[in-house]
């Protein structure tokens, strides 16, 4: 049952079982303590007077793989998808990207992400990390994605270059949903 603004008791009136169930039982059942199910979770609001348990997600792919794609795509040499994280979100989530990147040319290399499921979002430059360097370096970034469609959303890393061959390894993606 949903939250109901607690009643104001009046001296001399009878406190009924129905009132107890509505204002005490059901309201306590909406509190984080009642909803806590698993260690490591946290609580966020989903609407007015509504809180929900959330779980952070993380995925790591150590595989070194390359692409020559100039638009965000899965890695191809060898074929290597992800990392990929699926979590329940409201409209916002922090997306953490980390990767070791190098390029055969002094050209741009990008790691970004697509969102699928409740939301359809295609990777972009503004939601990416980027290096323009031949030598490999490992960098990271955190993006607050704030226009998700509430529900189950899957975040999948995508990669591209401006030219040359980009090689990506030690790839990590984490999501902290709100």
């Amino acid at each position: 049952m949903a939250w109901t603004a607690p009643m104001t008791a009046i001296a001399g009136s009878v406190f009924t079982a129905s009132q107890f169930n509505t204002f005490i039982r059901d309201n306590f059942n909406e509190c984080p303590t009642s909803k806590a199910s698993t260690p490591g979770s946290y609580f966020v609001t989903t609407a007015t007077n509504q809180v929900q348990e959330r779980f952070a997600g993380s995925d790591y792919v150590a595989t070194s793989s390359s692409t020559t794609s100039t638009a965000g795509a899965d890695l191809t040499t060898p074929v290597s998808v992800g990392p990929t994280v699926t979590v329940d979100t409201a409209v916002r989530a922090f997306v953490f990207l980390y990767c070791n990147m190098t390029n055969t040319a002094a050209a741009g290399t990008w790691m970004s992400y697509d969102v699928s499921g409740a939301t359809t979002f295609t990777n972009s430059l503004s939601t990416s990390i980027q290096l323009s360097n031949i030598g490999g370096q490992r960098i990271g970034g955190v993006i607050l994605h704030d226009n998700l469609t509430p529900g189950v959303n899957t975040f999948t890393a995508k990669y591209h270059v401006s030219s040359g061959t980009g090689t990506f390894s030690d790839r990590r993606l984490a999501v902290l949903p709100f």
């Binding site: 607690p6 309201n27 966020v44 609001t45 503004s126 980027q130 290096l131 360097n133 709100f178």
Partner: protein
């Protein structure tokens, strides 16, 4: 009304309307569901037995702009900046794409705080790129936990400088988790 430590019932005693209002109504009104006013809020403590809802926020400026300043300044389009209500702590996470007109010349991006608090941008929490070929853009992020803030309305603004040369900054993003 504020939270009151729940009373201890005594067998045979009358549970009064005033007690109900103080220990049930008013305490329930201090719990997270009662304080939740929109989606995607988090809850933080503001003191003993006190919670407040906070909203993780983001702001961005995509435009590529430049500076030759060797001390932290605004670009032609200042920021991005976020104004939020915080307690004494806030987490800032920021991402910027930068390049420099000169090879092996540094670009710096950092965060200043104004409003209830006054904190100047510092190298200590800057995002720094150096040692790159000229005009090559790189984009990554940094994070800093601001402590010792004055509780209230605080504005977090990205600032920029270079070691030398002309620094270019684009896809500038700042995110704040107010605690």
């Amino acid at each position: 009304m504020a939270w009151s430590a729940p009373m201890t019932a005594v067998a045979g005693a009358t549970f009064t309307a005033a007690q109900f209002n103080q220990y049930v109504r008013d305490n329930l009104n201090q719990t997270a569901p009662a304080l939740a006013s929109a989606a995607s809020q988090i809850f933080v403590s503001t003191g003993p037995n006190a919670l407040a809802a906070r909203v993780p926020s983001t702001a961005s400026v995509s435009t590529t702009q430049t500076t030759t300043s060797t001390s932290y300044v605004d670009l032609t389009t200042p920021g991005p900046a976020i104004t939020v209500t915080t307690g004494t702590i806030a987490i800032a996470l920021y991402n910027i794409s930068t390049s420099n007109s000169a090879t092996n010349s540094a670009t710096y991006s950092s965060v200043a705080v104004s409003g209830a608090s006054s904190v100047v941008a510092s190298d200590a929490w800057s995002l720094l790129f150096d040692g790159n070929a000229s005009t090559n853009f790189n984009r990554c992020g940094a994070a800093h936990v601001f402590t010792g803030l004055t509780p209230g309305s605080n504005t977090f603004t990205l600032k920029y400088k270079v070691g030398s040369g002309t620094g270019s900054f684009s896809n500038r993003e700042i995110n704040i988790i107010p605690l």
